[in-house]
């Protein structure tokens, strides 16, 4: 059975929505163009994952949320993400696609750092947004989801760090879908200008086990020459949310773009994380962990494409599958002709805890240049009964032993994550999913 894929909104609705937000004409034009593309494209065929019975059309598009005056109003699930109140110096909380709380330290704004929601940026920094929005990283017509994303975009963040500005404090955004049916069409646009340095952390949270919704997220991240970006994410949508997330990065000469992704959604998820190493000596680490549980089906692609000479890409992903969860992990290292002296390495490991769970790791190397290094490792396995026996022989119950083994399986990735906040958040979320 194929479910409805036609969007439940028409062009008139999109025009009105855009007008209501006073968007510039070029932006409205993109939406309308994207709408046509979305309507004409079929659902992409995803190898080994059936998505044609996923919910892509049942959601509420135009929602809003109240401002937050104090963190005490926030549910526990959100508060644990924020750490203690004073430690969060630079943060935006988006509640039902509405900016509910925002804080940027004066030192950063004095240095010219821009950190605001995308709609504000469209009026305050239109040229900057226009220069980068869906041009060099993610294209409108890449697939039905990217087109739908642009047509229905209803949330977004813009972060710009000027030349030579180095920020030590993480910049954090929490996307909180308080409304259980609210769809999130969210766009994150990050530009680190030459020789700047930034750490960005995002959290996606919803609480809709029974209500259906959709999240369609595109991140475009640019590390200009010599810039360094650490990008951390903990995705934590509930069972009812179907997620398409495309995190795309472009790294120019000598730039570093590191990803640390905790892919902890409970609903069906299609995730792409791709980095273009455009410049010479550009470097990227793509680290990801995930836990699948219940009936959820997920498909993760981590891809690094090398254009620049001497560029280095390292993919490391570990996943644990419980219950009847199914996941595909694709790791793709692609080295283009001319990217000599490049190195593409990847490792994907999957641990299956139950008979009913399924996992698959596909390591792929595509190399069009001779003078390169490349390597891959992949494994899919079950819990070693002798490990379980050993732990239990010390009085540890089977459940506790499995809990330790899951934490342990993910820990080599978690402990490598350079952002402490993300490490802490991840351990919390993992703990929540293991029990």
């Amino acid at each position: 059975m194929t479910v409805e894929t036609k969007l439940p909104y028409n062009k008139e609705y999109i025009t009105d929505y855009s007008k209501k937000r006073n968007e510039p004409n070029w932006f409205q034009d993109i939406r309308l163009e994207a709408y046509d593309i979305a309507e004409s494209m079929p659902l992409p065929k995803i190898e080994k994952t059936r998505i044609n019975n996923w919910n892509f059309t049942n959601f509420k598009h135009d929602v809003s949320g109240d401002a937050i005056t104090s963190f005490e109003e926030l549910p526990e699930k959100i508060r644990t993400l924020l750490g203690d109140k004073d430690s969060a110096k630079n943060i935006i909380i988006i509640r039902n696609n509405t900016v509910a709380f925002t804080k940027l330290s004066p030192e950063l704004s004095d240095q010219g750092v821009i950190f605001e929601d995308l709609f504000t940026a469209l009026s305050n920094h239109e040229d900057l947004v226009k220069k980068y929005f869906m041009k060099d990283a993610v294209k409108l017509d890449e697939n039905k989801f990217t087109a739908t994303h642009a047509a229905l975009l209803n949330s977004g963040i813009f972060l710009y760090v000027p030349k030579n500005v180095k920020i030590e404090e993480p910049i954090q955004v929490v996307f909180w879908q308080e409304d259980k049916e609210a769809a999130l069409f969210n766009h994150v646009l990050i530009v680190a200008d030459e020789h700047s340095d930034l750490t960005y952390v995002e959290n996606y949270v919803s609480d809709n086990d029974d209500d259906q919704s959709v999240a369609n997220i595109v991140s475009e991240v640019f590390a200009l020459d010599g810039a360094k970006i650490s990008y951390g994410a903990v995705d934590n949508f509930s069972k009812g949310t179907t997620t398409y997330v495309n995190r795309r990065g472009v790294a120019y000469n000598d730039a570093v773009l590191d990803w640390a992704l905790g892919q902890m959604n409970d609903g069906n998820t299609l995730s792409e994380n791709e980095t273009f190493l455009m410049g010479h000596n550009a470097l990227s680490h793509a680290k990801a962990v995930s836990i699948g549980r219940g009936e959820q089906s997920q498909n993760f692609t981590a891809k690094i494409t090398h254009f620049g000479k001497g560029s280095e890409g390292y993919i490391l992903q570990h996943g644990v599958m419980k219950d009847r969860a199914a996941s595909i992990f694709n790791g793709i290292g692609k080295i283009e002709d001319g990217a000599s002296k490049s190195n593409a390495e990847q490792e994907s490991r999957i641990l299956m805890l139950s008979q009913g769970s399924r996992g698959d790791a596909n390591p792929i190397l595509l190399i069009d240049e001779d003078d390169v290094m490349a390597g891959h490792a992949a494994s899919v396995g079950r819990v070693d009964p002798l490990q379980l026996y050993y732990l239990m022989s010390r009085g540890i119950s089977k459940e506790e032993a499995e809990r330790l083994i899951i934490h342990g399986f993910l820990d080599p990735v978690v402990r490598e994550i350079p952002i402490e906040t993300v490490q802490k958040q991840l351990r919390e979320v993992i703990e929540g999913k293991v029990n």
């Binding site: 002798l386 026996y389 050993y390 732990l391 022989s393 540890i396 506790e400 342990g408």
Partner: protein
């Protein structure tokens, strides 16, 4: 306190359908140190694994009772909770779990919820026990047994033994892979455990461990059974004369479990 009693009666054990133990009888009481000796392939390690509940070993006949409770009815963790401990010949490596987290989980597993060992107390106890066993301090934060040398793994087993303080411990070939200095250190640790409440079953095919840990009883295993028992003097004689005299005495040609 008199300690616990482990009673093994007519124990038959198979692995992959092949019978390895063919009727073992043995009783270990608190305060007693027993040594089970014998050449390779006679079923000594099978005995240790069967008592602890190793998943590959199937008990086909016989009983194991701990203070009258049926051990064979217990899950592996329940056996440990009841007071059994096995220092393994080949301990598993577990990535991602630090030695220290593992040990703390094991200690807390024996305590009531809400009565977990305070972190500082745990660290202090672990530090001092590690000192005693001359274990490098960074081992606490390394992943459990991962990349440990043979000797480090053995010391780590004894570290767990000393921290968990079981009623009855089984030491499976704890001396293999240890040089003489390490053997002395490990033996000192085990001797410190000696008291009226602690029973110990030492499995070895070398007499040399028994130079440092004096057993009260010595048993010789051949063809999956205990064929001879005696006091510490039996071990001495085995060291001096080997196993041939026992085989002659009992008319055994091949001591391994393959024949019958």
């Amino acid at each position: 306190m008199a300690g616990s009693t482990l009673e093994i009666r007519d124990l038959h054990v198979e692995i992959d359908g092949k019978e390895i133990l063919k009727g073992v009888d043995l009783t270990i009481k608190g305060g007693e140190f027993h040594a089970v000796m014998g050449p390779n392939g006679t079923g000594k390690s099978t005995l240790a694994s069967a008592i602890m509940g190793h998943p590959r070993y199937e008990v086909t006949k016989g009983t194991i009772l701990l203070d009258g409770e049926d051990v064979l009815e217990m899950e592996v963790d329940e056996r440990a909770q009841a007071g059994l401990f096995l220092a393994m010949q080949y301990p598993s490596e577990v990535t991602g779990i630090t030695n220290s987290d593992f040990l703390r989980s094991a200690i807390n597993a024996k305590r009531e919820e809400g009565d977990e060992i305070p972190l500082m107390k745990f660290i202090k106890e672990m530090d001092s026990t590690m000192d005693l066993l001359e274990i490098d301090k960074n081992m606490a934060q390394r992943y459990l047994n991962e990349g440990f040398s043979g000797g480090e793994k053995k010391r780590n087993e004894i570290l767990q033994l000393m921290m968990l303080e079981p009623a009855i411990a089984i030491l499976d070939e704890i001396d293999s892979g240890l040089d003489i200095d390490a053997l002395k250190i490990v033996s000192d640790g085990i001797n410190k455990m000696r008291n009226d409440a602690f029973g110990c079953l030492i499995i070895t095919h070398y007499q040399r461990l028994l130079n440092y840990i004096t057993p009260d009883y010595v048993h010789v295993m051949m063809q999956g059974r205990i064929v001879k028992s005696g006091g510490p003097e039996l071990a001495k004689r085995l060291e001096a004369e080997g196993y041939e005299w026992i085989k002659e005495e009992l008319g055994i040609e091949d001591e391994t479990v393959g024949q019958n």
